[in-house]
């Protein structure tokens, strides 16, 4: 059998790998500037307005499993083609360590179903080491990124309110939706104990930002991706307009294996496998941008070996794959007796919470851990799906029935049906999302023994939380109980204790993994410079979360978008100057 790599004929200015937040932004900015682009995506094409792909406004009974998560981890209607495990694309974990890796393979990547929580990092978040002596500072500060946050806000749209809270920078906010009933209860509870609760900041259009996208119509289903583009998905909001410039060739179902280089170690393009014909192809470009998500981009670099760079491309520092870090997460549920027997009305609202709690203890040095967390809330009269009504026996023995008598938990028949109705909308919950301190040993590397079905060596993860994160989770759990009791609720289940690390989720579970190709001013200790450009390879950039030095308690995507825009501006300038 002959092995042949098919050369795609046009030579591009820029080849972008991955079409999620980072790749979509790079494509949009560079296409607008007139560069000829190849956008290479491992998954299929996707458009939420395509009726064949649309899941928005489906009813649970349209699915034979009623929306259960058998096929897609967040349920049948969730818009992620992927999950924690992909057929034929394994990954491994070093013994005694944990990491769960979520991948979504489709145009737009994980931005088709993400939570739309769109937070800016604050001034402190770029310089935490100055404050607590741990981890490392970013080589840039808030002022470097602010102009780009501003531009992202205006281009994409995000609602919120100007609060003037230190380290929670305000932005160009569309007006927020009014709080739901359970959110008012939460606010009542938190205000009694001095915990702030403010309108959430989500990239959902309560008003329009241009003529191509309609305003949100409050179906609560952003996770299904919006068919009128009323929320931010990279596919519809960035890639579509980039394609309209006529400057972008989109290659879908194209799995990039490695970056190809010339004898001196400069990038000359990428090598990919077409998932449809399983043949190998090569795309040539003057510049390569990796934006395949933090771990995937690290994997591509580590697999791009040659005699010039035997441990992978852009890796003279040996830092590629290291400092991998995710947000922490821990959660609790509660039952609210005062929210029983509720009057029915359409409470869907936007896809996510209308209020949240930003970190409020930056100045408290006595906590025993040094980084903060924010709190996300849920509740309400949502659309039932598989799992709805489970474990009624844990609820219906807790409070007196309408007749004033407390029944035996469990039961059946009309009484049970009435109970389901009574308790509908009385369950609420909250989850902390916190900052972890990046560790060099927490990393992904190439598994020396395994390849995926395309023959590409796979990743092996090493990841352990430190005491910092465990203590932070303990604090979350104490806070949750305090909030629950102050809002008149009853906490459900056992309080997670030491044995379960206070409910601290496995690394990877919060799906904010970043840091694997971090930026820095010292080429010995970092992979990228402060413009996401590889120290070792000037015509190679990484524009996903890989560049993060640390990630605050703020979800990463707004910062990925701002940095990708900033790096694209820099790249364009350098090309014009002839430096690349």
């Amino acid at each position: 059998m002959s092995f042949q790599i098919i050369e795609q004929s046009p030579k591009y200015d820029v080849c972008i790998v991955g079409s999620g937040a980072g790749g979509g932004m790079a494509a949009k900015i560079l296409a607008d500037k007139g560069f000829k682009i190849a956008l290479v995506e491992a998954g299929p094409n996707f458009d939420p307005a395509n009726p064949q792909q649309r899941t928005q406004l489906r009813w649970p009974w349209e699915s034979p499993r009623r929306g259960a998560g058998t096929m897609r981890p967040f349920g049948d209607f969730d818009m992620a083609y992927g999950g924690w495990e992909l057929d034929g694309e394994p990954y491994t974990r070093a013994q005694g360590t944990e990491f769960d890796w979520f991948r979504s393979r489709m145009l737009g990547g994980r931005t088709n179903h993400w939570g739309r929580i769109s937070l800016r990092f604050g001034p402190l978040d770029f310089k935490r080491k100055d404050f607590d002596g741990k981890g490392d500072n970013w080589p840039i500060g808030y002022d470097d990124v602010k102009p780009y946050y501003d531009k992202v806000d205006k281009l994409i749209g995000v609602f919120g309110t100007r609060e003037n809270i230190p380290n929670e920078p305000d932005g160009y906010f569309l007006p927020p939706p009014k709080p739901r009933l359970h959110e008012l209860y939460f606010q009542k509870g938190t205000s009694k104990i001095g915990i702030p609760m403010i309108p959430s900041r989500l990239s959902i259009l309560t008003k329009r930002v241009n003529k191509k996208r309609a305003a949100c119509f409050y179906c609560n289903q952003c996770s299904r991706s919006c068919s009128v583009y009323g929320d931010f998905s990279s596919s519809s909001v960035l890639v579509n307009p980039a394609m309209e410039t006529g400057k972008v060739d989109l290659y879908t179902n194209a799995m990039v294996r490695e970056v190809i280089t010339d004898g001196e170690g400069n990038a000359t393009g990428v090598h990919y496998i077409n998932k449809e014909d399983l043949k190998d192809y090569r795309i040539k470009a003057k510049v390569v941008i990796l934006a395949a998500s933090a771990c995937s981009s690290a994997r591509i670099l580590l697999n791009s070996k040659s005699s010039v760079h035997p441990n992978g491309l852009a890796n003279s520092s040996n830092v590629v794959g290291k400092y991998l870090h995710d947000s922490t997460g821990s959660s609790r549920m509660a039952f609210m007796p005062s929210l029983m027997d509720r009057k029915r009305y359409n409470e869907d609202g936007v896809g996510g919470m209308h209020l949240y709690t930003p970190w409020w203890l930056n100045d408290d040095k006595s906590l025993g851990f040094s980084r903060g967390y924010h709190i996300e809330y849920w509740g309400g009269m949502g659309m039932p799906a598989y799992g709805f009504g489970f474990n009624m026996e844990n609820l219906n023995g807790m409070v007196p029935g309408i007749d004033g008598e407390t029944k035996k938990a469990g039961g059946y028949g009309v009484e049970l049906m009435k109970d389901v109705k009574r308790f509908y909308g009385s369950l609420v919950g909250m989850a902390g999302r916190g900052e972890s301190i990046p560790q060099e040993e927490n990393r992904c590397e190439i598994d020396k023994e395994k390849v995926d079905k395309f023959g590409i060596p796979v990743l092996k993860f090493h990841y352990k939380w430190t005491e910092e994160e465990v203590k932070q989770a303990a604090h979350m759990q104490d806070t949750f109980e305090e909030i629950i009791s102050n809002m008149g609720g009853m906490a459900l289940g056992e309080k997670p204790g030491k044995d379960s690390s206070y409910g601290l989720e496995n690394p990877g579970r919060i799906i904010h993994e970043v840091g694997t190709t971090r930026m820095g001013s010292d080429p010995k200790k970092s992979v990228l410079n402060k413009y996401n450009q590889a120290h070792d390879v000037p015509n190679l950039f990484v524009m996903d979360g890989g560049s993060f030095v640390s990630q605050a308690d703020k979800n990463p995507t707004w910062t990925i978008l701002a940095l990708a825009w900033r790096a694209s501006d820099y790249l364009a300038d350098e090309m014009k100057k002839g430096n690349i």
Binding site: K211, N220, N346
Partner: protein, 232 residues
């Protein structure tokens, strides 16, 4: 203008009323008809691989006819209808058949549980569960329906019944009939303008001035945001 009409006006925004999915958002912002799209059963935006798996599962049978009969009887004991259809007429047994194949961890406990029930029925009445009188069936169910109050000899039965209760309840309340019975009002184009006033009042809540002045005003939702004069 009644509430329905005014909602429609808010959703339409600009001119025109044609179906939105033609995708000319620049000319037509009417999203009110998005729900009118109809497709064949179980066609809900799956990938080809997902569709193939669903089809394969739908073609197999997990339960025997005899087991299915018991599931139907149990479904109607658990959700008999309350001015609404009983579970057996709301697609619950079909859902249980599918989900048992879809989530294999249900298989052994369900099959074993059904056997346990059959055995218990024979022990007490020398007949299969489905052939018992209503009173006899209920006598057994009463012994296994309250997990905090179960005699030691019935703990396995109670385990089974809890699983069955979960599946029937979830199957019922995710069916069209169940969603109607529950009174869920969403999953359609809407304009959220806060909690209704009477509900706020009943719960002793109110929106303060700050919230009211900053929140989105429904009549402005179709405007394009103008940042003139906005400062941060």
């Amino acid at each position: 203008m009644d509430r329905r009409e005014s909602l429609r006006t808010l959703l339409i925004g600009g001119a025109g009323t044609s179906l939105l999915l033609s995708c000319r958002l620049d000319e037509d912002t009417d999203v009110s008809k998005l729900t009118d799209i109809k497709e064949r059963e179980f066609d809900y935006g799956r990938t080809p691989a997902e569709e193939a798996r669903d089809e394969a599962l739908l073609e197999q049978d997990f339960y025997t006819d005899e087991e299915m009969k018991t599931i139907i009887v149990l479904s109607d004991i658990i959700m008999p209808g309350d001015g609404s259809k009983p579970a057996s007429e709301a697609g619950v047994p079909e859902f249980i058949e599918f989900i048992t194949k879809d989530i294999p961890s249900h298989q052994t406990p369900m099959r074993g549980g059904l056997r346990w029930l059959k055995n218990e029925s024979y022990k007490r009445y020398e007949k299969d569960f489905v052939d018992l009188s209503k009173e006899q069936q209920i006598a057994i169910i009463e012994d296994i329906a309250y997990p905090e109050d179960v005699k030691p000899e019935f703990t396995q039965g109670a385990q089974f019944f809890s699983r069955m209760r979960n599946l029937v309840t979830t199957g019922y309340f995710t069916s069209k009939e169940g969603v109607e019975y529950l009174g869920y009002m969403g999953n359609k184009p809407n304009v959220w303008d806060g909690v209704p006033a009477d509900v706020l009042q009943k719960h002793g809540m109110k929106y303060d001035e700050k919230i009211l002045s900053r929140s989105i005003k429904p009549e402005e939702r179709n405007d394009i945001e103008d940042w003139e004069g906005y400062e941060i």
